[in-house]
Point group: C2
Chain length 418, copies 2
């Protein structure tokens, strides 16, 4: 197969489909989502059989169990996929929203209209449920999508893609509005991320190294989600009860997500008060503590933290702890070592809360709340395609709106510029 | 000079300054803008002397007169620079705007805060006035800026930079918030557009080839402004008087700007009626007409248009004309051959107006108004750093808001995720 020619063909078809999708009305898009959900439910056995083949091959290749877990579909995850698509159908359609229409002194009326981005390329690892989720969100936002999943999930993805095509056709929308790349050749990714003329944005989902590699080689804009090195800063004017509750939840609610706290910063005036009871909780949950020298003077069992710890996303029951002189030192630490993802202050002080909100340069900044809230569902977006650590275009959880752009509209009545 | 090391130093300083600028209050930023304006007025003679040296060198190098024109400062353009900065001071500060703060069922309150992008790199040709304009806009939006102007304007730019530094210092802001690259070595551009760690976005201003080259090599996101191949489509339900007035203005108001019409599309049912009187106007103004076969059947003096004409930005008194069967053909032509910049329909038909607004995939779409209105001042942005033909982040005229991002803020009262 000539990969370049194949991908160019996919790109051309996507561009053509994107024009149809941009003018598709809300009803047609919702009918497609409902029809895809119904097809997935009806074909659940087929999907599970295709997935079982993928899983069998992955096992013979000796892939690790966490990988197999992410690859494996169950009757429950298939039902969740269908349910997710129906939820997307219930979300308001962002496309066509007109805002800020204002008359100018010249007599023209100027405003903005929300429009699809066009063609979105999604590159992800071997997690078949992403195929349905990403296709559904991009479809509702009026885009055409090119999906390139991990090669180990190719049979599962093709089975899901068949349901998607069927649903699109049932709603009178072009089947090429969602295309799954049918080759596992890596050159397809290289082609996808450099086809400026056919692809408007790339959304990579997966490990940090995958995303960094794509960002490095892409000629198409990329909405990146790199790492989450999130902080909670416990101020000396924190309510100790709230501080302990949030520091516990931010670390131990779940260890793997990107919005889990990796470094706890504690004001030196309250470290003696806060750290011992908090460490007790962490120890009971099996969290390994690594601390700065001051921390270790209070928590004798903490392992010495190195500079490497301050920039590490553990995704594991490990926490680094640093005692700081004041909020300025905490903010400096967060802006220097953090990943600009999500950071929280625990304080009752109004002025410090306002300053922290403004001065911490992260996609989500919180006061007296757990970093675990940084999530499209929790924020009310309905669903998310990812959490962007970029500042350009979309920052933080990216929902339907992040998959659109705005164009200017000008309404006149024969107006000319003089 | 070790260019890499020099640019890294500039980058580090800009990153540090950007943190100060992000928390600078509106008053300080406005005082800086006023002080820069005052310094420019006071030093007008110095600026003109430095500029005269640049111009003299450029003349000995035999650069063409349009280039010399753009390079040359006069007492009037210096006064306009100062006035532009004072106008920027009067614009509302976008930084810190909090919007959409809503309570979620969990009890947290979620919203967005507008924040600076961070460090903006501006790459432009030998137009010294851009130095003051771009620095002023980026400063007001709370960013640090690295300016790399054309090498022929280096003395002018350094003289302006001295005024900028003085103004920043007078307002208590870091002088490194605006840095003019002091070397004319081209390697400085290569370094600037690849310093991901220090630069958040690149705004290139200048010719299409400069911008395309930068976009190709950049590792930092680029807000591009490529070409403007703008269209006016005269529908068969157009008011002929409005159609002729707008088609005249869109082409002949000024020939060089990117929002000037390059291709006129006319519905075949009204071509006989509209084209002869319109051609009369164009001929009187010396506009060369190039037409499709049908056009030439009506306008015998029109030169045959080739496919090349449909994608060409003439920036000159030349117009290509095509007769189309209906609006669908017109939209297809615009989306295929245009540059997604600015396109207008002239019609009295409500349904066609709505469809054109939605289906034309351009940064500005207009009904019964001249494409010449596509401009930051005309849209009420106060000023613009450029007109983006990208869909990502900022589309169309980019003002202060386009030089900012939004972060999420979460306000809680001890809330944890369950």
């Amino acid at each position: 197969m000539d990969i370049q020619a194949y991908m160019q063909q996919i790109g051309r078809q996507a561009r053509a489909a994107s024009r149809q999708m941009a003018k598709a009305d809300t009803g047609a898009k919702n009918r497609a989502l409902q029809a895809i959900a119904a097809a997935i439910e009806r074909d659940a056995d087929k999907l599970l059989a295709a997935n079982a083949e993928d899983v069998a091959v992955a096992k013979t290749e000796g892939l690790e169990s966490s990988f197999i877990d992410r690859l494996t579909l169950t009757a429950k995850t298939v039902a969740t996929m269908a349910e997710g698509l129906r939820q997307i159908a219930t979300l308001p359609d962002p496309v066509g929203d007109m805002t800020d229409l204002k008359f100018r002194p010249t007599g023209i009326q100027v405003g903005k209209m929300r429009v699809p981005l066009g063609v979105i390329g999604i590159i992800y690892e071997a997690r078949p449920n992403v195929t349905a989720d990403a296709a559904g969100l991009c479809l509702k936002a009026g885009n055409a999508t090119i999906l390139r999943g991990g090669k180990e999930a190719i049979r599962s993805n093709q089975a899901i893609a068949a349901c998607v095509r069927e649903g699109l056709a049932a709603a009178g929308l072009p089947e090429t509005a969602v295309q799954v790349v049918e080759t596992t050749d890596r050159a397809a990714v290289g082609a996808l991320i450099t086809m400026n003329e056919y692809v408007d944005v790339i959304v990579p989902r997966g490990g940090k190294s995958l995303i960094a590699r794509i960002a490095q080689d892409a000629r198409v804009p990329v909405i990146k989600h790199l790492d989450g090195v999130c902080h909670v800063y416990i101020d000396d004017e924190a309510d100790p009860e709230k501080a302990i509750r949030i520091a516990d939840n931010a670390k131990t609610h779940r260890y793997a997500p990107c919005n889990t706290m990796e470094t706890l910063l504690v004001n030196e005036n309250v470290a003696d008060l806060i750290l011992p009871p908090l460490a007790e909780i962490y120890r009971a949950k099996g969290v390994e503590l690594r601390g700065c020298e001051q921390t270790r003077a209070i928590l004798a069992d903490a392992i010495p933290a190195t500079d490497e710890d301050w920039v590490t996303e553990y995704c594991a029951p490990i926490l680094s702890i640093k005692i700081v002189a004041d909020m300025d030192v905490a903010i400096e630490h967060i802006n220097t070592y953090g990943s600009h993802h999500t950071d929280a202050i625990i304080t009752e002080n109004y002025t410090k809360a306002r300053r922290f909100l403004r001065e911490v340069d992260s996609s989500s900044v919180m006061v007296n709340a757990s970093t675990r809230f940084a999530d499209g569902f929790e924020y009310g977006l309905g669903a998310e395609i990812g959490i962007s650590t970029d500042k350009i275009h979309a920052r933080g959880p990216v929902g339907l709106e992040g998959l659109t752009s705005q164009k200017w509209v000008v309404l006149g009545d024969g107006h000319i510029r003089v």
